[in-house]
Symmetry: C2
Subunit: 570 residues, 2 copies
């Protein structure tokens, strides 16, 4: 009966989330243990208990469609929407290199080596490679967030993982079609893999990727147009929801191009252009809050579910190929990461440092995409059980072992994760914001001048004292840590420049200044932004202070203007 | 195939939300047309098109379980969590009177009259009454929000509708069991409705209601205990989610008591006590944001779905009983509302005004609960089609006709909805907040003292000018509208008193002040709050200004203290 089904499904979901809440509370108490990995381990525990005692704690099934059609779109969209387009663009070279030729290269390498290592036919081995190699934005984003990795490193790994999913899925689909044909017609792969066939497959892959980009842009732009003329944050949330799933389905289901790429592109578009032009502050807040919550809930479910559906018995049965696969998968990543970043480094003054490359190899975690793809294999696919065990095994290893050792790797490489100073600064800053907020509220209420303010005076006094103490502490901390000060300076500058851009664009849109002047001004700000993104402050290196366009113009006009750099404090 | 199902369901849902987004954009442009009613009408249009042209635009099915187990819990929880316990308590008398004896009385009246009017057997007629009479928090809350009704009126109608759902569902279940027994054993209802049977049914109803309250309190308290020691807003959102569905399922599925009441009580508990003690400001913001978004999305779906699943052909077929039912349902409400509020008015110095009573009769909209209950009737239930047509007909009438005429009724009764002055005040106030926020941001960025501030100075100057103009406009508006000023004063006072309470409680919890002193202080604040809730300011009616406890204490101690009321501005 449906009655049974709805209630039963709901109870199973409640059990999953109860478990997750328990993990959440545990992690909050213990501290510094990644939430996602803790969820996965709890899932393993459930799977183990179910296998050993033959009981079923909950009946959660992951399927290809559930992951790809329901769970993945909000995760991809959120990941893309919260990516800063500015720094994404600044690192587009290495990101694209790794996401497109990088994936292809490592699929080919792992595929060919896998033939001998696993004893699979070539096509099956390539299929395994295409399934396992996409790195998972979910796991990577979660982990980097928790570790507080430097922003540029995050952008590189995030950007790659957002894009290579799409490429991986497209390659997988093309290979699966070939494999099925090979099985059906009983033709060996070598015959199918003729040059013309390879060319047409490559063309399909390119078409699907480009098609995904186009769908994402068109859908994103359509929703953006509607949002620009609207200020109803709830309807804008519904539109975002429609865009998240709609761009995926439109691409995948109706146009047969890459849904993953479409959703990522739509998310990048709305998360950047939409946020800047089409959303009021309240809308922005609710949309990002909603996306964050949705992604968190989906994420929580996925990690518990991957853990709980891991076929523990099969992992034991196929222990040998799993153990062989783990280093080979890493090898395939090595083969792509080092050479390709070496090449892109040739074209950029600001290359990817060697240390970052190590992190990109070890931090390429494999998560829900491989699981979705292996679960989507047609039933009765020849080495299905073995492939499933291998995928779950490699995923489990990468998430747990690579994930848990990540912070140690960053430490050893001397890549600053959040330092103790930074933590202290955040603590002080957070508390300072809290007291400011309280004082603001008090001030506003008192300004109305209508309330018995005796009680309130005490609070204000206390808060002001605390604020003073906090300021002193922060200023002391800053003096002792010039690096911290410098970083905060850059962050502040970037924000301010972003606001300058917004203001200029708004002024252009309102017709206050002409488009040509606007472009000139924007160009200038972009130039500064680039310098800030490269870690150069436009403020405290006065010897090469930038001379703004308007200064030259004003000077030409005969006005008396302070040279740049003066008139600002410090 | 499951593949088909997941994608197909998703596409149907996307079509529903596309329609809803269209309605949202339309309503935003047109203005002043209730969103929920527009959704319903769009749903009717779909249903009409599907019936006339025989096409299917989307395959959305509402079922009893879908509504009760999936859609209703978040709506009830959100409604309860956003209800202010303070003003709920202040109006508990009439709310309880209408929700418990009121529903029973009107079910009995409509049931007995319906026998003759519809020609149903007594039990079926009672069953219809129990289905249709609960008023819907969803529709009522949405409508009152949009109309800007006075807070006390909202509390009355909201409170009643939150509680009478539970009572209605419990009565319905008891009657359905009786009816099925009557059909199965072929015994006429009159024999089954013996005095002892009635007594045992009444006992069941009481048990189920009290059981629901207990489950809600216990579950709410359990989650609250966990939240108190936690500051992870995401985990707290998951806990809220678990509580929403968990309290419902625990009550309904495992303990066979009222799930609706359990969820409402849990929502009231967390939304008030939880918010005060167990949530950081960020958690509060995300939880309410999430609840609001979830409720909006569910709501959107329900209204489109009710419209689209309305059986238009059957409405025509059973037009006569529907037309008869509409005034009878209103009559049943009249019979409950006027006498019962007259009785509770005897016990309260601050009775429900006659005008409010009219609004409570006409504003008792019937929405998703009747639809859920009629869809949950066992298939093949004798007058099933007729009952369904009658329920959908009355629901449609109440939502569309009563809903759309509501603002006119409020106008005619002279019950202030938001006036033009108030709208203007909100506009000015909103804009003032925006400029304040912009100035704040500017200030904060400048304080860091690290930025070329030339561009920013211009902005600040502009904003400050605007802020000055806004202040002048607001102060002028206030002077011309003493009522507006008075209302704002009360709102401000209430907020401040709430904060006083929080601070005192926190002080008690931290051991800064003893529990007995704390209780005394809290009592005092509650007294003031009651006066404020009754519309009396504790500030500007100085002749009866309240002398705080600490003043007497301090005076006894020999301190020199200004008498109350002085030392505040104005």
């Amino acid at each position: 009966m449906l009655a049974q089904t709805v209630a039963a499904t709901e109870i199973d979901l409640l059990v999953v989330f109860l478990l997750a809440a328990g993990v959440g509370v545990f992690v909050a108490k213990v501290g510094r243990f990644p939430y996602t990995i803790a969820l996965l381990i709890a899932g393993f525990a459930v799977s183990g208990i179910q296998a050993i005692f033959g009981v079923q704690l909950f009946a959660i099934e992951l399927s290809h469609d559930l992951i790809l059609l329901v769970l993945l779109p909000p995760l991809l969209f959120e990941g893309a929407a919260t990516t800063d387009l500015e720094s994404f663009r600044a690192n587009l070279g290495p990101i694209l290199a790794l996401a497109v030729p990088g994936v292809i290269l490592s699929v080919v390498v792992l595929g060919f080596v896998g033939q001998y290592a696993f004893g699979f036919p070539l096509l099956v081995s390539l299929l395994f490679a295409a399934m396992i190699l996409p790195t998972d934005p979910v796991s990577v984003l979660a982990l980097f967030d928790e570790l507080g990795a430097p922003e540029r490193l995050s952008t590189l790994v995030e950007g790659e993982s957002l894009l290579n999913d799409g490429v991986g899925v497209v390659i997988f689909s093309a290979l699966l079609a070939l494999t099925e044909e090979s099985i059906r017609t009983n033709t060996p792969a070598s015959e199918l893999l003729s040059l013309s066939r390879l060319a047409s497959t490559a063309f399909e892959i390119a078409l699907s990727s480009v098609g995904g980009v186009v769908v994402g842009l068109v859908a994103g732009y359509a929703v953006y147009r509607v949002m620009v003329n609207l200020d109803e944050h709830m309807t804008e949330i519904v539109l975002t929801l429609i865009l998240t799933y709609g761009s995926f389905l439109l691409a995948e289901h109706y146009l047969h191009v890459s849904g993953v790429i479409a959703t990522v592109v739509a998310g990048l578009f709305i998360g950047n252009r939409g946020v800047e032009y089409a959303m009021s502050p309240q809308t922005k807040l609710s949309i990002f809050n909603t996306l964050e919550t949705a992604a968190f809930i989906v994420n929580t479910f996925i990690f518990v579910a991957i853990g709980a559906t891991t076929p523990v018995r099969q992992l034991a049965e196929f222990a040998v190929p799993i153990v062989v696969a783990i280093p080979l998968v890493l090898l395939a990543r090595v083969v792509a990461v080092y050479p390709l970043t070496a090449i892109t480094n040739q074209f950029s003054p600001n290359g990817v440092p060697r240390d970052y490359q190590h992190v990109m190899v070890w931090g390429g975690l494999h998560g829900s995409i491989p699981v979705a793809l292996v679960l989507g294999l047609p039933s009765g696919f020849p080495p299905g059980n073995e492939l499933r065990a291998m995928v779950f095994g490699v995923v489990a290893f990468s998430l747990v072992v690579q994930g848990l050792t990540m912070s140690r790797l960053l430490d050893r490489l001397g890549i600053a994760t959040r330092t103790d100073d930074q933590r202290l600064y955040e603590l002080l800053n957070g508390r300072a914001r809290a007291t400011d907020a309280a004082l603001d509220a008090a001030e506003r209420l008192r300004k109305r001048g209508d309330i018995p303010s005796d009680v309130y005076d005490d609070f204000t006094e206390e808060y002001e004292e605390e604020r003073e103490d906090l300021r002193e502490a922060i200023s002391q901390l800053m003096q002792e840590n010039p690096d911290l000060r410098r970083e905060e300076l850059l962050i502040g500058e970037r924000r301010l420049l972003q606001r300058e851009k917004n203001a200029i664009r708004e002024a252009v849109q309102n017709g206050v200044i002409g488009g040509d002047v606007g472009d000139r001004l924007l160009e200038e700000v972009d130039l500064k932004l680039n310098r800030v993104n490269d870690g150069e402050s436009t403020v405290d290196e006065q010897e090469e202070a930038y001379e703004e366009f308007w200064r030259t113009q004003a000077a030409e006009f005969g006005l008396d203007i302070d040279p740049p750099g003066e008139g600002t404090s410090d």
